[in-house]
């Protein structure tokens, strides 16, 4: 039995608590990095949703997990709007596989 974690600033993610996902509030990058490490080191969580704002500073860490079967790190837009970072990752994986973005 795995659980699902959501990491981000309070305003963006507090609603996910009601749905039954585990929310972790991180208001600055420093704290986000610490919590991200905790979440990904154990095997309690198999999906970690992270807001694009926080993920912007954690690209290296996130890319490390893209080849491992667990956990899945998925970017979601925060309350401050969509930065397009999540879509950029999709493009990147297509580019990696095909050689250029053909979709």
């Amino acid at each position: 039995m795995y659980k699902v974690a959501v990491l981000g600033d309070r305003d963006s993610i507090y609603g996910f608590a009601a749905l039954g996902l585990d929310v972790f509030y991180a208001d600055n990058q420093q704290k986000g990095r610490e919590i991200f490490k905790q979440l990904t080191s154990g095997d309690t969580y198999t999906i970690v949703y992270i807001t694009e704002q926080l993920a912007a500073d954690l690209t290296e860490e996130i890319e490390k997990f893209s080849f491992k079967p667990t956990p899945a790190i998925i970017l979601i837009p925060g309350v401050k709007g969509n930065t397009g970072q999540g879509m950029a990752y999709v493009k990147k994986s297509v580019e990696k596989a095909v050689g250029s973005d053909i979709l």
Binding site: K3, L19, T46, S66, I74, I76, V79, V94, K96
Partner: protein
């Protein structure tokens, strides 16, 4: 290709011929694997793109609702309302094998089966906007989990495709031509040896005949 020293012997020749056969077979198999992986990857990547666009749009909508809700309530009540969630989401993870890539399949379980358990707060002190916001977020959740599944699969598959492509290229452009070249070198060397033996024998025969009969 004289980059490495090769022994021009029959044993080496048989060994290299076997190696070439294995490499050619491996190359064909890996090429098939790459093609099939690519086909399923492209399907999945298209789905990933659509799903992500959909989820991002829906989450942005939900976020708007949450902003509305927080505007009409005081922050203390708002944070207190989310303190004790009734519902919990668990996932069972199983893996399916697509061309030797284990892609995850998430099976979603919730602690209670009641859909209304997502409203984990007293209705008296919270605004109706909050209910709307939570319900709009609950609508996205299945798509979000599906997105996680698809996106992870895409990442794993793209890594595998890259690896397979490198292997195919290494076999096609390095291993196979090099082995062929070595085989050619040994065959030529052996033929040359044979010819030189032949001429030597002929010469010796001439000399022997000359000595014996004086031809």
């Amino acid at each position: 290709m004289a980059s490495t020293q090769i022994n021009p012997t029959r044993m080496e020749l048989t060994r290299l011929k076997k190696k070439l056969a294995t490499a050619t077979r491996g190359h064909k198999l890996l090429k098939d694997k790459r093609d099939e992986l690519m086909r399923s990857f492209l399907d999945m990547a298209r789905l990933n793109r659509e799903l992500r666009a959909k989820v991002e749009k829906a989450i942005s909508e939900a976020n708007k609702n949450f902003v509305l809700a927080s505007a009409s309530m005081n922050p203390q009540t708002l944070s207190a309302s989310m303190l004790a969630p009734k519902q919990e989401v668990y996932l069972d993870v199983s893996y399916t094998n697509v061309m030797s890539v284990d892609i995850p399949v998430y099976n979603i379980n919730t602690r209670t089966s009641d859909k209304n358990d997502i409203y984990c707060y007293g209705l008296a002190f919270t605004s109706a906007d909050l209910d709307d916001a939570v319900s709009s977020l609950a609508d996205v959740l299945p798509d979000m989990l599906r997105l996680a599944e698809i996106e992870k699969s895409c990442q794993l598959m793209s890594a595998e495709i890259e690896k397979t492509r490198r292997r195919v290229n290494a076999l096609e452009h390095v291993m196979i031509p090099e082995t062929k070249e070595k085989i050619r070198y040994i065959t030529m060397k052996l033929d040359e040896n044979e010819r030189s033996t032949q001429t030597r024998l002929m010469k010796v025969k001439d000399m022997v005949l000359k000595n014996a009969h004086g031809y």
